[in-house]
C-alpha cells in the first residue's frame, strides 16, 4: 500500500489516541493550574463517564459483581450513543461539583503530596466500588453501528480506521476550543486565573470565588466524562481503565506545561503520534518511547512545552 496512505493512517491513529489524552489532560491541567489541586482521581471520573455512557447507550449483561448477585444482571437504558454523549457530561459534572465541595475544599491548603495521596486513595476506592458492583470482568461497549468501518468518503474509505475515531477527534477539537476561549478571554477565566495565586485577595475585590472554582472543577470533570463516553467504545470497559489512563494523561499535562490548555493539546498530539509512529516502526519500543519522550521534554524544558517558568517571588 502506498506510503502516504500509511503515513495518514499513522497520523490519524495518533490523533485519535491523543484526543482521549487531551480531553483528560485539559481537565487535569485547568484544575491543577487554577485550583492548584492535584487530582489523581481524574481517571476515576473517566471511569464513571465510561460506565455511565455504557449504561445509558446500551443494555449489558453483568456476569459478576454485587449488582448481578442482587438480581440486576441486566442493566442499562439502551437509549443510544447520542443521548449518552449529551447526558454523561452533566452526570460527571455533578460528580465533579460534589468532589470539589467535599474533597478539594478540605485539601486546598494541604501540601501537594497530601492532595496526590488522598485522590490516589479515592481513585482506588472508586475503582473498587465499580469492581464490587459491576464485577471485574470487562463489559462490551461496542462502537455504534453507524460509526463502524471506515467512513464512506472517497479518500478516507481506503484508510483502515473506523468512523467513530473521526468523531472522537472532532468532538475533542470542538470542546477544547470552547474551554480555551472560556479561560483565556472571559471574566470568568480572569477571575479563576487570579484565584490561582491569591483567592482571598480576589474575594477582597468583591468577587465570590466558590462558584467559579466549582465550575472549573465541574468542567474538568465533564471533559473526563466525555472522554469516557467517546473512549469507552474504543477499549474494553472494566474497573481498571480509569487508573490506567491516568498515567499518560498526567504525563500529557506535565509535558505540555501545567495550566496551559494549548500545551495539553500539543502534549496529547505528541504522545499519540509518537506512539502510533513507533508501533508502525519499532513496536517493541512503542511504550518505552512514550516515556522517553516525556523524560526528554522535561529535561530540556522542565516547565513543559508551553508552560511558564515559575515566576520569581
Amino acid at each position: 500500500m502506498s506510503f502516504h496512505i500509511e503515513a495518514i493512517t499513522v497520523l490519524l491513529n495518533g490523533l485519535q489516541q491523543g484526543a482521549i489524552y487531551i480531553l483528560l489532560a485539559v481537565g487535569l491541567s485547568i484544575i491543577l493550574g487554577t485550583l492548584k489541586f492535584v487530582n489523581f482521581a481524574h481517571g476515576a471520573l473517566y471511569l464513571i463517564g465510561t460506565y455511565a455512557g455504557l449504561l445509558i447507550a446500551l443494555e449489558v449483561n453483568l456476569t459478576s459483581g454485587q449488582l448481578q448477585a442482587w438480581g440486576f444482571g441486566q442493566l442499562g437504558l439502551g437509549l443510544g450513543y447520542i443521548p449518552a454523549l449529551l447526558i454523561v457530561p452533566f452526570v460527571v459534572f455533578v460528580v465533579g461539583l460534589a468532589m470539589e465541595r467535599w474533597v478539594v475544599e478540605p485539601f486546598k491548603n494541604r501540601p501537594d503530596t497530601d492532595q496526590i495521596l488522598v485522590t490516589f486513595g479515592l481513585a482506588i476506592i472508586v475503582q473498587e466500588l465499580f469492581r464490587a458492583f459491576f464485577g471485574s470482568s470487562s463489559l462490551p461497549f461496542s462502537q455504534p453501528s453507524w460509526a463502524q468501518g471506515p467512513p464512506q468518503v472517497p479518500f478516507l474509505a481506503a484508510i483502515p480506521i473506523s468512523s467513530w475515531r473521526y468523531y472522537v477527534i472532532g468532538i475533542t477539537a470542538v470542546l477544547v476550543l470552547i474551554v480555551y476561549l472560556l479561560v483565556e478571554f472571559t471574566d470568568f477565566g480572569l477571575v479563576v486565573r487570579a484565584g490561582t495565586r491569591d483567592p482571598e485577595m480576589v474575594e477582597l475585590l468583591g468577587i465570590r470565588l466558590s462558584r467559579p472554582y466549582i465550575v472549573v472543577f465541574g468542567i474538568g470533570a465533564a471533559l473526563a466524562g466525555v472522554a469516557g463516553v467517546v473512549g469507552g467504545p474504543l477499549n474494553p470497559v472494566n474497573p481498571t481503565i480509569g487508573n490506567e489512563i491516568l498515567v499518560p494523561a498526567f504525563l500529557t499535562v506535565v509535558i505540555g506545561g501545567v495550566g496551559s490548555i494549548a500545551g495539553a493539546v500539543l502534549g496529547g498530539v505528541l504522545f499519540g503520534v509518537t506512539q502510533a509512529v513507533l508501533v508502525a516502526t519499532y513496536s517493541a519500543w512503542a511504550q518505552v518511547g512514550l516515556y522517553a519522550i516525556a523524560a526528554i521534554v522535561l529535561l530540556v524544558r522542565p516547565q513543559g512545552l508551553l508552560g511558564e517558568a515559575e515566576v520569581a517571588p
Binding site: V38, D112, T113, L117, I125, E128, A284, V288, L298
Partner: protein, 366 residues
C-alpha cells in the same frame, strides 16, 4: 538536650572514643532502639504464625512474616524520602524491581550466595537511583512525582519488551538460583532447636538480621546531620540553599539512600520468591509502597514498617477469605477507605496516631 553542659561533655568523650572505635559506636538511644527491634524481630514469626491461640486468630504464616519484613525495609527507606525530605516518588518500583532483576541475573550468571545477591541488587539500585535522581530531581512536588513515575514506567516497558531476552518479559524472570547461606544452610530449611519455634527458617533469620541493620542505619541517618538537613530542606528549600547547603545534592543523596533501602528489599524479595515478576516494576508497586508508608505514618522510622505489615496482612489474609469471608472480596476497597481516612484524619498514620494517644495518656497523668 535540655541539659546543655552535660550534652556537650557527652559529645566530647564520644568523639574521642569514636576516633578509636569508629563511628559505628552506638550513641544515645541507639542501643535501646536496636535491642527492642531485635526482640520484636525475634518473636514476630512465632507470634504471627505459630503461637497457640494468637496465631489462630491472626491466621499468619511464615512466608508472610518474611515478606512483611522485606516490604518493611522498602517502606522504611521510602519514608526517609517522603517523610523527611518531603519528596513523593511514584517511581520506587524501579529500584525494587531493578534490584530484584539484578540480583536474579547475578544469581544465574555469577553466584547464588544470598549475601552477594543482596550486594549486587543493592549496588544496582543505588546506581540507578543516582542516575534517575539526577534526572528527576530538577523539580519538586507534582513534577517530581510524575517524572519518577515516567522513568519507572519506562523501565517497566523496557523489561517487558526490548529487554525481554534478559528479564523474561511478561513471563517474569525464572532463572533465579539461590545457593546456601554461607555455603552451608539452605534458606528454606529450618533453624536448629528453639530458634525453629521462634524464627522458623534460615531465610527469615537472614532477612531479620538485614532488617535489623537497616533499622540501625535508618535510625543513625535520622540522627546524623543528614536527618536535620533533610527536614530543613523540606521546610524551606530556598533558605537552605542560602545558608550554603547544596540542596540539590542532599536531595539526590536522600533519593539514593531510599533507593538503597529499596534495593536491599528488592534483592531480598527475589531471594524470598526465587522469581521476579514483571509487575515488580509496574507503577502499582510504587503505589503500594506509598500506601504502606502513609498508612503506617510518614516521618517516623517504624511507622512505615507497621504500614507494610497492615497492608500485606489485608492483602494476603483478609483477601484470602477465612475468617474474613464476608469482606474478602472487598479487601482492596477496605484498604482504599482506610488509606483515605488516614490521610484525612490522621495525617501521621497509624504510628503517629498511637504516639498521639500515648502522649495524651501520659500527658494526662502528669
Amino acid at each position: 538536650m535540655s541539659d546543655e553542659p552535660a550534652a556537650a561533655a557527652d559529645g566530647e568523650t564520644g568523639s574521642s572514643f569514636a576516633d578509636t572505635v569508629g563511628i559505628w559506636m552506638p550513641r544515645g538511644d541507639e542501643l535501646r532502639v536496636m535491642t527492642a527491634t531485635a526482640v520484636v524481630l525475634a518473636v514476630f514469626p512465632f507470634v504471627f504464625s505459630r503461637m497457640p491461640v494468637v496465631s489462630d486468630l491472626l491466621q499468619g504464616y511464615q512466608s508472610l512474616a518474611t515478606l512483611i519484613l522485606i516490604w518493611g525495609i522498602f517502606a522504611l527507606g521510602f519514608d526517609l524520602l517522603l517523610g523527611y525530605t518531603g519528596l513523593l516518588s511514584f517511581g520506587h518500583a524501579a529500584f525494587w524491581g531493578g534490584a530484584a532483576y539484578a540480583a536474579g541475573v547475578f544469581s544465574q550468571h555469577v553466584s547464588g550466595s544470598p549475601i552477594l545477591m543482596v550486594l549486587a541488587g543493592t549496588v544496582f539500585a543505588v546506581l540507578l537511583a543516582w542516575f534517575l535522581g539526577f534526572l528527576s530531581l530538577r523539580r519538586g512536588g507534582i513534577y517530581f512525582a510524575i517524572l519518577t513515575l515516567a522513568f519507572a514506567q519506562m523501565m517497566f516497558y523496557m523489561s517487558s519488551s526490548p529487554l525481554a531476552f534478559i528479564t523474561g518479559g511478561e513471563n517474569g524472570f525464572t532463572g533465579v538460583e539461590t545457593a546456601e547461606l554461607f555455603g552451608l544452610f539452605p534458606l528454606e530449611s529450618e533453624l536448629p532447636l528453639v530458634l525453629e519455634t521462634l524464627l522458623g527458617t534460615w531465610l527469615y533469620a537472614f532477612v531479620a538480621v538485614i532488617a535489623l541493620l537497616c533499622v540501625a542505619l535508618g535510625y543513625r541517618i535520622l540522627h546524623s546531620p543528614y536527618g536535620m538537613v533533610f527536614r530543613a530542606i523540606r521546610e524551606n528549600e530556598q533558605r537552605a540553599e542560602f545558608v550554603g547547603l547544596n540542596v540539590w545534592r542532599y536531595r539526590l543523596m536522600s533519593f539514593i539512600i531510599s533507593g538503597f533501602f529499596a534495593g536491599v528489599a528488592g534483592s531480598l524479595f527475589v531471594i524470598h520468591g526465587t522469581y521476579v515478576p514483571l509487575s515488580s516494576l509496574y507503577w502499582t508497586t510504587s503505589g503500594e509502597v506509598v500506601i504502606m508508608t502513609v498508612l503506617g505514618g510518614t516521618g517516623s522510622l517504624f511507622g512505615p514498617v507497621v504500614g507494610a505489615g497492615v497492608y500485606l496482612y489485608v492483602e494476603n489474609i483478609v483477601s484470602g477469605g477465612h475468617p474474613f469471608e464476608f469482606v474478602a472480596p472487598f479487601w482492596h476497597l477496605i484498604l482504599g477507605l482506610v488509606f483515605v481516612v488516614t490521610i484525612w484524619v490522621f495525617p501521621r498514620g497509624i504510628w503517629g496516631f498511637f504516639r498521639d494517644v500515648r502522649d495524651y495518656v501520659t500527658g494526662g497523668e502528669d
